[in-house]
């Protein structure tokens, strides 16, 4: 794939066989005793203008996957094609140019903003690194424009992070991501640290910005209700692997992977009459370890449908394949 030959008919982002393993060092000399298989062979595509939701519980690797795609963490193996180019093979100056296209919004609006920089410094830094606006009037105007995009008053440019509420800080984080005019943004749990009454504001803002600026999102979160609302398609991860990918609406109506089914049945719904009638698939035990994942299907140790085959063979993601809906399971749930 040569540079410049990509068209929007092809996926904006295509991930192939991505693995990110973290070494576990032990002993006095720090020899490598094993690895955390945080991301253990993931294939994904995201089309331009789309929102792909990525869900899973603690340790499933979703945050690591988001960061690996942006090379904030260096992957161990695999390819990440952005507009047709494998960005894992790029040198540092080419990668820096590529970083203008890809941005990230972090979970913690308290930890991700430098308390010693005011808003103008925070937003200006991104502009300066990429030489996007010469100092002076143009730079200031761009900063005010960014504040306007995220619904913050221009008065706030001179203030420091501690002067803002959690929701406002998250807006600053979003403005910072937009500063480089990216086409792709990884949203890593952007609302989990916010009060419930503020979450909807930020979700609406992200959706509005996507329409206005033609953005593509990878939306990582553990709250499936939020992910379903904002996403076009959803990928479900379990211990380093994607176990199901489906259009958002279908995932709730007809999950195929037993893990997805139990995840969905565990989500409390704010409707007392419905809650009383619900049948839950309660899983036994805890999430499998990414250090020593079970053989074959990783979910089999908690799965109510597990058979001997599940220990012997690992089901590929397209074991169940119906159009846009795929699931890695030999004994999927009924439609």
């Amino acid at each position: 794939m040569g540079a410049g030959s990509w068209t929007p008919a092809e996926p904006l982002l295509a991930v192939r066989g991505l693995k990110t393993w973290f070494p576990i060092r032990s002993g006095v000399v720090g020899r490598v005793a094993g690895h955390v298989h945080a991301v253990d062979g993931v294939d994904l595509t995201i089309r331009q203008g789309e929102t792909l939701g990525l869900v899973g519980e603690s340790g499933c690797g979703k945050s690591t996957l988001g960061r690996s795609i942006l090379r904030l963490v260096e992957p161990t193996a695999g390819e990440v094609y952005f507009k047709g180019r494998d960005i894992l093979r790029l040198g540092s100056s080419e990668m820096r140019r590529m970083r203008r296209e890809m941005a990230i919004i972090f979970q913690d609006p308290f930890a991700s903003l430098d308390p010693r920089q005011n808003v103008e410094d925070i937003l200006g830094e991104a502009l300066d690194i990429h030489h996007l606006a010469p100092a002076g009037k143009q730079r200031r105007e761009r900063i005010l424009e960014l504040l306007g995009l995220v619904g913050l008053s221009s008065d706030y440019a001179d203030r420091y992070p501690h002067e803002f509420s959690g929701g406002q800080r998250q807006r600053i984080g979003i403005a910072r991501a937009l500063a480089v005019d990216p086409s792709f943004i990884v949203c890593d749990e952007p609302i989990s640290a916010l009060d419930v009454s503020i979450q909807a504001q930020i979700i609406n803002l992200l959706e509005e910005l996507q329409d206005r600026l033609h953005l593509t999102y990878l939306f990582i979160a553990h709250d499936l209700s939020v992910v379903k609302h904002i996403s076009d398609r959803i990928a479900v991860m379990y211990v380093g692997k994607v176990v199901e990918v489906s259009p958002a609406r279908d995932l709730y109506r007809s999950p195929r992977h037993p893990y997805t089914g139990s995840l969905l049945s565990a989500i409390p719904i704010p409707d007392p009459r419905l809650e009383k009638r619900r049948e839950r698939i309660l899983l036994t035990g805890d999430v499998a370890s990414p250090v020593n994942p079970p053989s074959g299907c990783r979910f089999r140790t908690r799965c109510f449908k597990a058979q001997p085959r599940c220990a012997a063979e690992e089901p590929p993601l397209d074991t169940v394949s119906l159009g846009d809906h795929q699931a890695a399971c030999f004994f999927p749930l009924e439609a």
Partner: protein, 335 residues
Amino acid sequence: MTSFAHLLELEDVHTHLQLKQGVVQAVNGVSFSVDAGETLGIVGESGSGKSMTALSIMGLLPRRGAVVKGRIRFKGRELTALSEDEMEQIRGTDVAMIFQDPMTSLNPVYRTGWQVGEPLRIHRHMKMRASIAAATGLFKKVGIPEAEKRVREYPHMFSGGMRQRAMIGMGLSTRPSLLIADEPTTALDVTIQAQILDLLRTLNQEAGTATILITHNLGVVAGMCDRVIVMYAGRIVEQGRTEDVFAHPEHPYTWSLLRSIPRIDADEHLPLRAIEGSPPDMVRLPPGCKFQPRCPFAISRCATEEPELITVREQLARCWVTQDGTSLDQAAAGG
């Protein structure tokens, strides 16, 4: 032992916190009761006063906090009049509390079985070996596998869900009449949350332990609680049976919150109806109704006069608009 009308009764409780910036009226005129075997939910966001209410009941307020007014009666006994020793007796035996982060309530340098058995040694005068045996039994009861092995382990060897189970076990060891759970599952994955809530439900049904469940998650309340209290800015703004409050909320905050959360079972993709503004600054509260700055139904009276909490149809609600006979659904539809 005096006879009592309710297991727990709060009457016009006011709790103040001395902060550098001023006095925060963290709990402002809260009254409610809990009966044996009931599960009461307290819902609110940051600054609502829900946790402070629980700490006021337990006598566990931070150093700069104090109950300045009101009565808290447990089995007819006035808790605010008790000495610390007397409170400790009650805390260890008849009222138990579990918190959000079990890692901070479990001492990392003691084995879990030793800790879980501690209330039995102190308050039931059990010997060490007997208390460890009792702890083992409790671990089995709360669903911790390999209980005999686990009692000898340290907290860091437990997963989050298991630690929470251990805390629940410890809380229930002396068969309390009342269990207060402050965000017990917020830090846990959703499938683990479902297991823990199921455990609490079972224990409530089998042992008849009254439960106060404090959370910001309306779905959890819908599935677990007979009655619910909604708090905002230190006040109760709505109170009633869960089914009634969810089906026809009589306070704009409750109404708006229910409509702003994405639901997994929602079919259409409409923008979320976000609540404007942010939770109030507890040091600088506005005059009149505290929710008025964000309220879609506010009338002029709301900015100057704070409403009382009175009966509105099936619930108690603190709102001029609904106290006047208007239904919020109708008001919203009518424009």
